[in-house]
Symmetry: C2
Subunit: 426 residues, 2 copies
């Protein structure tokens, strides 16, 4: 049995989950992995706050009690946010302490700094819990894809938006109402921008696509759209045609061109991602050897996240040599790569057209002139004076061709009211 | 760059896939993992057979050319079958050569022998490819579940039977016809017994449940039923009620009691396993910390399997300390565990009843007397003289209670024609 002394930075929802789960699993981890893991000190902001099940003498407000303690060989960071987490983790790493973190923001924004600090200190850096909670997607990308060229990673990586979109789809209720309900239930933050604006998903995509493509894809290169403008009538029309709307984090690679974006998109109801409901997460991968693969599970929550953190912890303490991803990790995009803003996808369009002959002809002609071919077109019943709703699903086309085609449609004949992308189709 | 010399046992479909994929990926693995992996010798039965892309001078019919070569530090086994694979792997391990294998039969039947040989020789033993091809379920159970008590592992682990059942469901064609078609397409063996009889799935469940429950669950403790008797009319009736029929490999643990079985079972169409179609595999897990999780991907095929083998190979060559699972691996069931033959599940029953008053009353009374409560009951249109079909879906009940209840139903009133289990329900 190896005695291992660790420290923790932060003791909120995730941190207290880590402490409690470790206490619960200590005998099992001792038996299975021959490790006796003891938490010596936990950094907190407020020493006076009572924390159920955590001995007061383990708490400290002074980071140096952890970073300066030579007995502590590993630090679990669960403060969240970019700072002071990044600075504290970098200090720990430089002093040779392996870091396990759930902090997607710190990893996405400052990964190269943290990796440099880890190399300097000869320490390991582990972050399974930073993307999709309990879902072992970081380990799979790092340790099960060595013989694959991964060409696609496509995920539902934000539970809050998936909950909101699932509710809107199941109950046909508007965005603002479902968001308020999610806030009341604690499933969305009082300021929901990070989730509903797609920022959280973009941090995670930066991490996933960097690992998948073995080249740093910085956060600022990711095209990002949120779900704030999603209308329930589009969800309904898509559902009628056999599609489900999801907030997708998409990374694709073709040769040296990558396409990285977060936005709402329809997927066919037969696609494995379509049935990922509620607060669940899933990541769909395609590798040239493995083919299609999907990992599915709980993306958040105290216990699932704590489980991923402790799994990294046991792994790091069992393998003495430090571990990092195998690509050159810098602050900038790898010079051999180009990020395209003219990717391909299929499209869902909702137009409001005049109710007279030749209108569908005008729409299809303008799309055709810009190399956008149509997969299906559906003219719905007139809604009185406001015109006739027309739904178009296109085949795969370039983003810029589609935008040019939409510009060419005469708004006096047909007004474009919604444009959504469709993924997971040939 | 570390120079690594390896040997291979077997050069059939999987073996030649491994060789070709390694040639394809050598520069990438060199760049990413700083390993230059060279295959020195490949054991084959027939030296005269021409093998596309594989230099003839690498082939040998003498195992000693590999096992006795001190330069070879790792051996990839892809012969399949229990022998001579087990003997050759054990010899390699005892001589300190790490073994990577896709051989579910050898691992399921002789795992303890191979692990003992590995310990004796100070070598590693890796078998990701033995269960579900490209799906990283072995790595997930070994390296991502350290902080979980896994209580359930439930999988679609055999592609042949999933293909047959998916076809029967989609096209409502009988078993024998679909099997013949699958044989003609090379998706089922000329002698299909290992797949359709559930033997292949039982080998895999022995491996999965042993890892999930950290205690050896020998193959012979697994209850096994195949799909040979499945009738398309039951698939149709289940589909109407919102269920899909799958060949499931099920392991459940409650305290010290385990329940391990392979048989066809309905799952609700909303369950993540329901949408796993064709030749895909998936494993659904439940852990007390991670909650529900599912891994999905290609379960067979030369390239997906080769990808898993090479991933194990790179992993083993990058981590010099040998790796084994963390439970006491013996030939027998762990003495603290009991395998129950009286597990719980819900049931689907199809009865042929007399078309007269009181018949449904008789059925429901007999079920109720044996503590089997009914979730739904559906009396269908009479099929002439042969009686009225009655479909019953029960709530969860004990296997033995259900059997006793069926014994108590008077066959002159209602004849029990089909009994299928229903999983994935509360």
């Amino acid at each position: 049995m190896k005695q291992m002394t660790i420290g923790m930075l932060g003791c909120g929802n995730v941190g207290s989950g880590v402490y409690t789960l470790l206490e619960d699993m200590r005998p099992t981890i001792g038996h299975r992995n021959h490790l006796d893991i003891q938490v010596k000190k936990i950094l907190v902001r407020d020493l006076s706050k009572r924390r159920e099940g955590i001995p007061a003498e383990k708490l400290t407000a002074n980071p140096e009690d952890i970073l300066g303690d030579g007995e502590i060989s590993l630090v679990i960071e669960c403060m969240g946010g970019e700072e002071p987490a990044t600075t504290l983790m970098a200090q720990a790493l430089r002093r040779g302490k392996t870091v396990v973190t759930a902090n997607k923001m710190a990893i996405a924004l400052n990964w190269h700094i943290l990796q440099a600090a880890a190399l300097e200190g000869g320490a390991g850096l582990h972050f399974e819990a930073s993307v999709c909670g309990a879902v072992p997607v970081i380990r799979t990308l790092s340790e099960s894809m060595q013989a694959n060229r991964v060409t696609q990673v496509m995920g539902i990586v934000n539970g809050t938006t998936n909950y909101i979109l699932s509710k809107m789809t199941d109950e046909m209720r508007p965005y603002s109402e479902v968001l308020q309900e999610a806030q009341a239930l604690g499933l969305a933050e009082p300021d929901p921008a990070s989730d509903v604006g797609g920022y959280d998903a973009a941090y995670k995509l930066s991490i996933l696509s960097s690992l998948a493509f073995h080249a740093r894809i910085p956060y600022e290169h990711i095209h990002r759209e949120g779900i704030e403008q999603v209308q329930v009538r589009d969800i309904a029309a898509g559902k009628d045609l056999g599609y489900r709307l999801k907030l997708l984090a998409i990374g694709k690679r073709q040769g040296d061109t990558v396409d990285v974006r977060v936005h709402p998109a329809f997927v066919p109801e037969t696609h494995p991602l379509a049935s990922v409901g509620g607060a669940f997460n899933a990541v769909f991968l395609h590798g040239h050897a493995c083919g299609d693969m999907m990992l599915y599970g709980r993306g958040a929550g105290s216990l699932p996240t704590a489980g991923a953190i402790l799994s990294d912890t046991v792994h790091a303490l069992s393998h003495p040599e430090p571990d990092y991803p195998s690509f050159e990790n810098t602050s900038h995009l790898h010079p051999s790569l180009t990020v395209t803003d003219n990717w391909q996808s299929a499209f869902y369009l909702r137009l409001c057209a005049q109710d007279k002959p030749g209108v569908l002809g005008h729409i299809t002609t303008k799309l055709g002139e810009h190399d956008v071919s149509i997969s299906s077109i559906l003219q719905r019943k007139s809604e009185g004076d406001s015109g006739v709703p027309v739904i178009v699903i296109t085949h795969r086309a370039h983003e810029k061709s589609l935008q040019a085609a939409l510009q060419a449609i005469d708004p006096a004949i047909a007004r474009v009211e919604s444009v959504l992308r469709v993924e997971g189709v040939e």
